[in-house]
């Protein structure tokens, strides 16, 4: 029995390697993606709920103009896509997917707002690698993570959760997904939820 102990240990070690959360990243980012490893899936306490009025905010965007949630009231449904940090693996492969489904968002009369707690120069350099994004990218950098904190998705290390909020034209929150930070939310689920919103 004893002579099998070492091989068994090696197998267990290899198995533990093989259970690492799988992901891929685009060569568009070359060697510039920092891998933080596996993080605590959720590290915050939500402060909003479905059926509640979404807290308003006004944040600087990559275009230099401020974007406010209230400017879409009565006009468009809104998806808030918070991602934790620029230049990290899952985040870098999330918005480029949304970038090729503009038609789906438009069919549902919905605008997407991408938000991180990174500053504008960092967001500029990072999103440039994604090609031209059709949706506004907003910086919740200063006061640091104020909007993320208001929604209850600011993690203890100062980054936002990977979270999606669907807000209807009346400003009411209709769907919340505070996702495991290590995984990309299913696009299929998001599209399904979008289709439930009134146009």
């Amino acid at each position: 029995m004893k002579r099998y102990t070492l091989p068994m240990m090696v197998c267990m070690l290899l198995f533990s390697f093989s259970t690492t959360s799988a992901q891929t990243h685009s060569e568009a980012y070359k060697n510039n993606i920092y891998n933080p490893g596996i993080l605590k899936p959720v590290d915050s306490k939500l402060k909003v709920r479905i059926g509640q009025k979404a807290p308003d905010f006004s944040l600087p965007s990559l275009t230099g103009k401020k974007v406010s949630l209230h400017q879409f009231l009565g006009k468009k449904n809104v998806v808030l896509s918070f991602v934790p940090a620029a230049w990290t693996p899952v985040c870098s492969d999330q918005w480029p997917g949304y970038n090729i489904v503009k038609d789906i968002f438009e069919r549902q009369n919905t605008i997407l707002l991408g938000i991180t707690v990174d500053n504008i120069p960092t967001l500029f350099a990072w999103t440039n690698q994604m090609g031209h994004l059709w949706f506004p990218v907003l910086s919740d950098f200063w006061p640091h993570g104020k909007v993320a904190s208001r929604y209850g998705i600011l993690r203890s290390d100062g980054v936002a959760e990977r979270a999606l909020f669907l807000i209807d034209k009346k400003g009411i929150i209709r769907y919340i997904d505070v996702h495991d930070i290590n995984k990309r939310p299913s696009l299929e689920v998001l599209v399904h939820e979008l289709q439930q919103l009134p146009k």
Partner: protein, 191 residues
Amino acid sequence: MKKAICIPLFLVLGFFAQQSPLWAKTLPPQENSILPDFQLPIPANADHRQYLGLKGKGFFKIHQIKAKAVIIEIFSMYCPYCQREAPNINKLYQRMETDPQLKGKIKIIGIGAGNSPFEVDIFRKKYQVPFPLFSDNNFTVHKCLGETRTPYFFVVAAGPGSTQEVIYSKLGGIKDLDSFLQTIRARSGIK
């Protein structure tokens, strides 16, 4: 007693290895090596089945594709590089299909790493990809092929037995289609 200490020790080591950004993944199969064994579902689309020379339902392996060489693109619908490269790869397919010397001899498939069938379908429709694309939702094939970045291109040709030998293995897009096809022709013995 030793075992009682060793098991937790190895598990702890494994856990910390997973957390480490420095943990190196295995390399993708290199040229002149044998393609690792994996299977894909036989396409539901009849045109795609015909293109690949497959029949029926179930799963197939790469060596069952009717061709002298098979190009395998590892892509993701979330990959901006793959999105930019898609029209070029469509051109590659068209070029192979319209060249009498290549038609039927070199086939191409795409495997969407971590992409659900829904996501693969979005990519296919968005870029009007004419060749078969497969979902690798759980990264099974991606892990098997060294967890490559995307896009990654393998080209394989018949090896010993029912194996497939890797004759081309490269990260990134195909800049010069003519030069790429010349290389593949030479390495797979297509005249």
